[in-house]
Amino acid sequence: MSYIEIAGLQFTYEDLVMRFDLTVNEGEVMAIIGPSGAGKSTLLALIGGFEAAQAGSIMVGGEDITDLAPDARPVTTLFQDHNLFAHLSVAQNVGLGLHPGLRLSTEDRAAVAWALEQVGLTGFEERLPGQLSGGERQRVAIARCILRKRPVLMLDEAFAALGPALRREMLQLVLGLKDRNGLTVLMVTHDPADAAFAADHTSFIADGKVVMSGATATVLASTHVAIRDYLGT
């Protein structure tokens, strides 16, 4: 039995009827690739609880989470943009991961400083998101993910806006975190190189379905026509 089991998960967006079946092992990195509009982000939104499935189920660690509220799920999502509230300081944004009403104790503040240290932003507590670079903003968001201590981390094209070198650096940061905390990572990406670099397994999604799921090298080398068309090789 796999750690994450998604079975017959159905959702309709405009004319596209999506139906996902997917399994992910505990502690692995699974990349999700596919053309835009295929349903990659929708799949993450369904797992995160931001969209309600019409049918099917999501099991994580043997527990059915299909009907849980977003904050009650054992997952945390990192978006591409707007992971931080622009009017709150870095420390406040990270602190939200400990208390959603920002009532932070002294220990909480120490924990925030520790999480910032983990992502290499020691001393950034009082800055505002507007004063940070794109990469630094995502680091702050990752620091919050650390404090939330959810076993599943989902990246929704989280690093797509960053340059190649920086993207690699961020992925490395996530991989280190995963190893230290035993996380399971789902990452939506539009760059096959990201998948090849970081992911044990890769799923290819098209037209609201998982077309193929397997070892990253196998999927990227598949002769499946949709995959070849997408990769342009």
Partner: protein, 540 residues
């Protein structure tokens, strides 16, 4: 080129005929304002007696007090209502309610006033309900209460329309984030909504305050006597009935000072007010799903909807019932024709002048003259600072050298209503021209497209819709404006607005009801027709 994003143009290129006309018109408007005060003060009444300072103080005090209360009540009602509308993004009638919030822009003020009277007046729905319930109580509408109810009726929808885009501007990710972090309703209010309101409310408050500060029709019809007189009404009375030009000018100068202060404050608040199509801006909010939140939201929405729809329902019901008691068909028909003629003429004038000013302003912006552009935009907004009564009187004095109000009545109404509608025209055209300039200026410069060629092939097809909106809006404003026609109108020139004002003043409510209904129908049809005919089909 000193800065990127600016186009190098030969010096002469900026001085096209359009631009020169724009400068000229702005200069005329600005000059007019200065001349008016000089003329009025010089012509000024009884120079021996001291100005009635006690009266001026009382009027100013009441004007400030009612504007303050109107603003506070409007905002206190708008905040929970907007929040409820933002949280409940989908329910039957939401679209209708948002359309309703746009109605006061198009609805002539006097029509809305009639609706308020029909609900809260001595023989309105409220009195009827009290009577039916056996309560011995009569609503006392005239005075401060009436002014406040009418102002909230007009400004609550405006505040909602200004606030809702702010709520919608919160990125969808933020709501997902809030849900993921488990923020409750109170956390969301404290951490997301309060900072948002703190940023938005000052600008909106100042706008509503200024609208209520310069109120005319509401205070004139619902003020009911010297205790509840506002500056604008006092100016009107001084000029039209007492012929005390000096008092009129003094009151008007007071008004300019406060309005300029308000305008400066708006500018400092630094917000571009977006009166967009709010219905489209919908972000899904997870905190609106809890049953308690839904209950509270729909309670607020229903309360607000009842407050906003009752006057309109009363207007329609009494209007239909009162058709038999309507003014004679001949006088209604004549008034309708005069309304249409004055409205269209005022709207066309405002739109043409507004286009030229906006074009000249855009040229200045494009060539980096920020200060000049601001000055030009400010001149076009003269009607927001200077009492229309004073502008009207100035037009008169300038044209005839006397205050013979009958000689150029039609021209006076058209010019004055055009000046009043001009700020709204600029509000529509300035941003549209800015977008058009950003999109086309470089390409047009590269292709050598200028002047008439550029207007025909580039500007008109892309600016047709905003121009149509500006024309429709300004025509309806000119048609429904009470100030100009009250100042210049006479028994030979009675439009629907003036007819309705007379009927309201004489408490002939059945006749007034049918006039109000006709005026509202006409305004809506007028707006819709102009927008469709001039605007054409949407470009994709």
């Amino acid at each position: 080129m000193r800065r990127s994003g600016r186009i190098a143009t030969p010096r002469t290129a900026g001085l096209s005929a359009t631009v020169l006309t724009g400068y000229g018109l702005a200069a005329v408007l600005g000059g007019l304002a200065v001349a008016v005060f000089a003329l009025l003060l010089a012509a000024g009444g009884d120079a021996q007696s001291a100005p009635p300072y006690a009266y001026i103080g009382r009027v100013l005090g009441f004007t400030l007090w009612q504007a303050f209360l109107s603003t506070v009540i409007s905002l206190l009602a708008a905040i929970p209502m907007t929040r409820a509308l933002a949280r409940q993004a989908q329910f039957p009638g939401r679209m209708l309610l948002l359309r309703l919030c746009a109605l006061p822009m198009v609805m002539p003020t006097i029509v809305g006033i009639f609706g308020v009277v029909a609900v809260y007046g001595g023989s309105g729905y409220l009195a009827w309900a009290a009577d039916a319930a056996g309560v011995d109580w009569q609503p006392r509408l005239y005075g401060l209460a009436g002014i406040l109810i009418a102002h909230v009726f007009f400004n609550l929808p405006l505040a909602i329309r200004l606030l809702l885009p702010a709520f919608a501007s919160v990125p969808a990710e933020s709501w997902r984030l809030a849900a993921q972090l488990g923020m409750g309703s109170r956390d969301i209010f404290r951490i997301i909504e309060v900072p948002l309101l703190r940023q938005q409310l000052p600008g909106i408050a100042i706008i509503i305050f200024m609208l209520c500060f310069t109120t005319f029709a509401v205070a004139l019809t619902l003020g009911g006597g010297p205790r509840a007189t506002t500056l604008e009404v006092a100016i009107y009375q001084a000029l039209r009935f007492d012929f005390d030009l000096r008092l009129g000018a003094m009151l008007a100068i007071l008004q300019v000072i406060f309005c300029a202060g308000g305008a400066w404050a708006v500018w400092r608040a630094g917000r571009q007010m977006v009166l967009g199509n709010t219905a489209r801006l919908v972000a899904y909010r997870y905190d609106g799903r809890a049953s308690l939140a839904r209950l509270a939201d729909f309670g607020v929405i229903i309360l607000g909807a009842v407050f906003l729809t009752l006057p309109i329902l009363a207007l329609v019901q009494r209007g239909l019932a009162g058709m038999v008691a309507a003014a004679s068909v001949a006088s209604l028909l004549k008034a309708t024709m005069i309304s249409l003629g004055l409205g269209l003429a005022g709207g066309l004038t405002a739109t043409l002048v507004g286009y030229l000013i906006a074009q000249a302003r855009q040229r200045m912006l494009s060539s980096g003259q920020k200060r000049g552009a601001m000055l030009l935009g400010l001149t076009g907004r003269l009607g927001l600072f200077v009492s229309p009564m004073v502008i009207g009187m100035g037009i008169f004095l300038a044209a005839t050298g006397s205050i013979d109000l009958y000689r150029i009545a039609a021209a006076g109404v058209i010019l004055l209503s055009a000046v009043m509608a001009l700020p709204f025209v600029l509000g529509v055209l300035e941003p549209a021209l800015e977008v058009a300039a950003a999109r086309h200026d470089r390409l047009c410069a590269a292709l050598g497209l200028t002047g008439w060629n550029r207007f025909c092939h580039i500007d008109w097809p892309t600016l047709r819709r905003p121009i149509a909106t500006a024309l429709a809006l300004s025509s309806v404003i000119a048609m429904g404006d009470l100030g100009a026609i009250a100042l210049f109108g006479n028994q030979d020139m009675v439009n629907l607005t003036l007819l309705l004002y007379g009927q309201l003043g004489a408490y002939r409510l059945d006749g007034a009801a049918s006039t109000a209904l006709i005026l509202l129908g006409l305004a809506l049809a007028f707006y819709w027709t102009i927008e469709r005919v001039v605007g054409g089909r949407e470009l994709h």
